[in-house]
Point group: C2
Chain length 367, copies 2
């Protein structure tokens, strides 16, 4: 089953509600659909999510690196020669979204070839994940209203609250409003996207502790080396490295240097192959993980569930799986549906997805 | 594809030449053939290699834990629910050979079901491994003669020399004789099986250094905590933890505590699933691995190659793959053949092996 060609199709779909957080805002999903074609007619798909403010990639850079560098390296290669293929991709520095989309498309093809889901190939631990919903910056009452709506509509009971604004009290007011609206049974945790200093974060953590937060993510910059270490040492809840730990080596350094006690795993930046490396590294070092969201659409969300459900350690906490709800439209013929606060692994071989050609034709930007 | 039953068949096959090393000797392969049966008639196989002097398991303990504890936990379970199955096996402490054989038999079944080799499912990096040959205790000239014979017969150019005897000069004489007989192009490394003290090992390392050894394994006990750390800190070649690092957590501790700078990965004790965890942990921490040998027969050797060839990091060094040559007979209808110093991944789905029923009937000990 050999690779005959690769498509990298840029497309844009507006969000109904822009997501705002300490390191940026996102108004439209400007992604790249990656399709890997093979000599037996099978097509593997995945979504590349460029995040210039996190990894420096753009739609144009993803398309260019796939078309000009990766495609010539991969055409003719066997779909099951995954590790050898990664050896080739590795010669090009960076470009995590482009490499990850290729990786996941290869796993989609492997699953199709085997007649098995990607989740089964990866480990087959369970068939669904609990969903955590991300709440972007807004006024306290509006965020509480959104949380209640999401809870009542989808049964979601876990919420990630974007914090990191100044003064710190802005976000503390939000967290208090959420706890008050949702009651004690809801799980709440915070993500600062490096917005605070270490001392601001330390002060916030003391108050957040009383509100029963369960995780604290990137409250201050990891590059504030000593301040971050000082903050993490005093945190009574796991401190998550996300954008500061995007490779196995960065995850190892974060954990060993005291810059984090848990790691956010995102299939959009480490695919399945390297997400497993990050996961197994964290397991071996005794660090928890949370399945994060790169503000994924439907396809990226399907990938996160496929990976997260495959292992005990990646499915223990709720995964961040609901950002796709805010898109005005999307590309799958059969959209994922959140029920009882969970998302199921899809039936069928590979990723189990079909791209809606009419929608792709409508949103693609290259024709 | 559900598990319907599991056989654990004890068998014994004499070695033509007993292997002698610092922590014991082995005169016969007293193993347990594990066969996992499924509802569609497929059978997955693997070999359990009990090593009482390393892990405390015996043939009887392997048979008992599989028949009485693991079989009831696994019957009815899907072959692709590997991570969930390991969650169940994990409830029982220890028993690594028994658990690993079950794990590898499940991967054999997964490969058969997918029509793909286990190597392809694991990563598909390459199709063969270079072979390292293990030289047990003997007089210097006899060990050199064996090395020359193995080199000339099989094209093997990498040798692991068992050391750890007293006085240290005994083994240094062996190493000198080997270097002299084999010349500079042969790769030589040493395994002390904890036979020396740290200071004996330090003295030996200085002399071994001049002989161009490439790895030093378990020269002194890991439980001599400070002595081992002192020794490893001064070693100019990677210091390998083998029997002191048999789980991901032990490997992490060994590397972080300075008790080793490399890890021996053995599918006989961590199967494929946990060997991948150890491998990815080592990769993330920047530690090299070597594929070790549990004094495996043909089937165990096939498993080591299947795993080792799947990833760049596990196939970079020669694997210890030739112990099966010393068995007087074995169980596969189509024995592995070492050519040009390499062993190929087997064709065909799963592990690609067929058990010779007549031979199993002859050597099995339960009828």
């Amino acid at each position: 089953m050999r690779i005959t060609g690769i498509e990298a199709v840029p497309y844009a779909i507006p969000y109904t509600k822009p997501l705002k957080f300490a390191s940026g805002e996102v108004h439209a999903a400007e992604h790249v659909l990656v399709r890997v074609h093979t000599d037996d007619g099978a097509v593997g798909v995945a979504d590349a999510v460029p995040r210039p403010f996190t990894y420096g990639e753009t739609q144009a850079s993803v398309v260019a690196v796939i078309e000009r560098i990766f495609t010539p390296q991969l055409v003719g290669e066997d779909v099951f020669a995954r590790e050898r293929i990664h050896g080739r991709l590795h010669r090009t520095v960076g470009n995590p979204a482009a490499k990850s989309a290729l990786d996941m498309a290869l796993w989609d093809l492997a699953g199709q070839s085997c007649g098995r889901s990607v989740t089964e190939l990866l480990g087959g631990h369970t068939d669904r994940m609990r969903v955590s919903h991300m709440l972007g910056f807004d006024a306290p009452q509006r965020m509480a209203d959104e949380a209640l709506r999401v809870r009542d509509t989808y049964g979601i009971a876990v919420f990630k609250v974007k914090v990191g604004r100044r003064p710190v009290g802005l976000d503390l007011d939000v967290c208090r409003a959420l706890r008050s609206a949702l009651g004690d049974e809801a799980e709440l945790y915070v993500d600062g996207n490096r917005g605070w200093t270490a001392s601001e974060a330390a002060a916030a953590l003391r108050e957040l502790d009383e509100l029963g937060m369960t995780l604290a993510e990137e409250l201050c910059p990891a590059d504030d080396v000593l301040g971050r270490r000082w903050l993490v040492a005093q945190s009574r809840i796991p401190f998550v490295a996300d954008e500061s730990a995007t490779t196995p080596a960065e995850a190892a350094r974060s954990l060993l240097d005291g810059a984090a006690t848990a790691i956010s795993v995102k299939t959009a930046r480490t695919g399945f192959t390297h997400s497993q490396r990050v996961l197994f590294l964290c397991e071996g070092l005794g660090a928890e993980v949370v399945m994060g969201n790169q503000i994924d659409g439907q396809l990226g969300t399907v990938c996160t569930v496929a990976f997260g459900a495959a292992h005990a350690a990646s499915s223990r906490r709720a995964g961040e799986l609901s950002n796709f709800l805010d898109m005005s439209d999307d590309l799958l013929t059969d959209p994922p549906v959140i029920t009882d606060g969970t998302l199921a692994v899809r039936d069928g071989p590979g990723l189990g997805v079909v791209i809606d050609d009419a929608k792709l034709a409508r949103y693609r930007q290259d024709r």
